[in-house]
Amino acid sequence: MCLSIPGKVISIDNSNPDLKMGKVSFSGVIKEICLQWLPDVQIGEYVLAHVGFALSKIDEKDAEETLSVLKKMGDLE
């Protein structure tokens, strides 16, 4: 039930200050997602969404670093 998936923010609607919404693309499937808990989220950033709510931004640099460390782990064999 805690399934959450990454998607790219393609628009942000700030018209309701209590319920900031946005359109998020999940590989081309676009859904209305609540962005209220990510005050500084920008268009183009990736977020992790769960039952219609963005829980967290995805740290692109961190993801790349993790993958790079794991690749190097194999190269050192």
Partner: protein
């Protein structure tokens, strides 16, 4: 899909698998808390990539599995009333109650609907003022802020025909309860990454220290899970016990502060019964008094329920990592996903259903 495909990369999983095999010198038992992780482990055959010394046991992090039978029966009772639209996430619809599940209620002509988000239920209440819309608010810390937001939003819109049937549970008290069981075999935990996305991981630091146990906050893709296992095994082999964060691309130490603030605004922490396990102290949420107008249990006053569990089902032991699904006599015999005796056979994240679909058991 970006951020999923890279973490399903076959050569990275192979690297990690080999690293774990080189590292291990003793037998270790590791529990993944979250049912989503159990599902990934079985679906991607991760156990086959591990040396024989590593045993994975599957935890209680499956809301479908641990929501008390009494709460399912209350949902069935409320959903079976005229003028109610009962809404729920899809995976709660087939959880067996004492007599019926929610799909049976729907089949009997009552208005039971699956929704994607609790906000959909709020919108439904706004459009159907003559009906009362109830949302079945189950789940862990990942889902609780969304359900809290639905209540706050219904209040803001002035809706008097919306309520939630609240049965939220919390991970850290469950870890404490599992480790307090003298029969536990668990030596390390993979903590639930998405729960920690909301809550952060400060709560896990005292648990790790008190029980001398490694806790690794872990994601859900095969590379994540293998890296989580690698970090846990490394700690075990080096006789360390710390909280580590494998899932740092989304989990911050402090979690999501806005979501946490909302939780403390809407909910109080209470003792909660867990199906198959029993009451765990301070292990769940209930609505605060100021939101009691949105509490379906108060509005509908469901009483005199007589609950009845299957006498064959060993779900409680499976959920505590004491037994594996195929050690149950009913598994694949009288208990199947089409006709589940217990909740872990219902949802894809339940250990029994995951074993049924993905594991070859001789």
């Amino acid at each position: 899909m970006k951020y999923l495909d890279e973490f399903r990369n076959a050569s990275l999983t192979k690297n990690l698998s080999e690293k774990i095999k080189k590292l291990v010198t003793e037998n270790w038992t590791i529990m993944e808390i979250c049912g989503g992780q159990t599902h990934s482990i079985l679906k991607y055959g991760i156990e086959a990539l591990l040396p024989d010394e590593i045993s994975l046991v599957h935890g209680p992090g499956c809301p479908v599995c641990v929501t008390p039978l009494e709460m399912i029966d209350k949902a069935v009772s409320i959903a079976s009333r005229e003028n109610v639209i009962f809404t729920s996430f899809g995976d709660m619809m087939r959880v067996p109650g004492s007599q019926y599940d929610l799909l049976a209620v729907k089949a009997n002509g009552f208005d039971v609907r699956m929704v994607y988000s609790p906000l959909d239920a709020v919108n439904l209440a706004e459009k159907n003022r003559e009906k009362h819309v109830v949302f079945f608010a189950v789940g862990f810390e990942t889902t609780a802020p969304a359900n809290a937001m639905a209540v706050v939003e219904a209040k803001r819109r002035g809706l008097t025909n919306f309520s939630i049937l609240c049965s939220h549970v919390l991970v850290p008290p469950a870890i404490e309860a599992l480790l307090s069981n003298p029969y536990t075999k668990i030596q390390a935990f993979l903590a639930a990454g998405h729960v920690c996305t909301v809550m952060g991981f400060d709560e896990y630091l005292p648990l790790s220290t008190r029980f001398n146990i490694p806790i690794v906050i872990t994601g859900f893709e095969p590379v994540d899970i293998l890296q989580g296992i690698y970090l846990a095994v490394k700690q075990l082999e080096e006789k360390r016990h710390q909280v580590e964060n494998q899932y740092s691309r989304v989990v911050l130490k402090e979690g999501n502060l806005q979501a946490k603030k909302l939780l403390s605004t809407v909910f109080d922490i209470v003792d909660r019964p867990w199906r198959g396990i029993g009451v765990i102290n301070k292990s769940g949420f209930k609505l605060k008094e100021e939101f009691s107008d949105f509490d379906a249990e108060k509005i509908f006053q469901v009483t005199s329920l007589s609950t009845k569990e299957s006498s064959f089902c060993i779900a409680g032991e499976v959920l505590q990592g004491l037994k594996k699904p195929h050690e149950c006599a009913a598994f694949k015999n009288s208990c199947t996903p089409e006709h589940p005796l217990g909740a872990p056979m219902v949802s894809s994240e339940g250990a029994c259903a995951a074993y049924f679909h993905y594991k070859k058991v001789i």
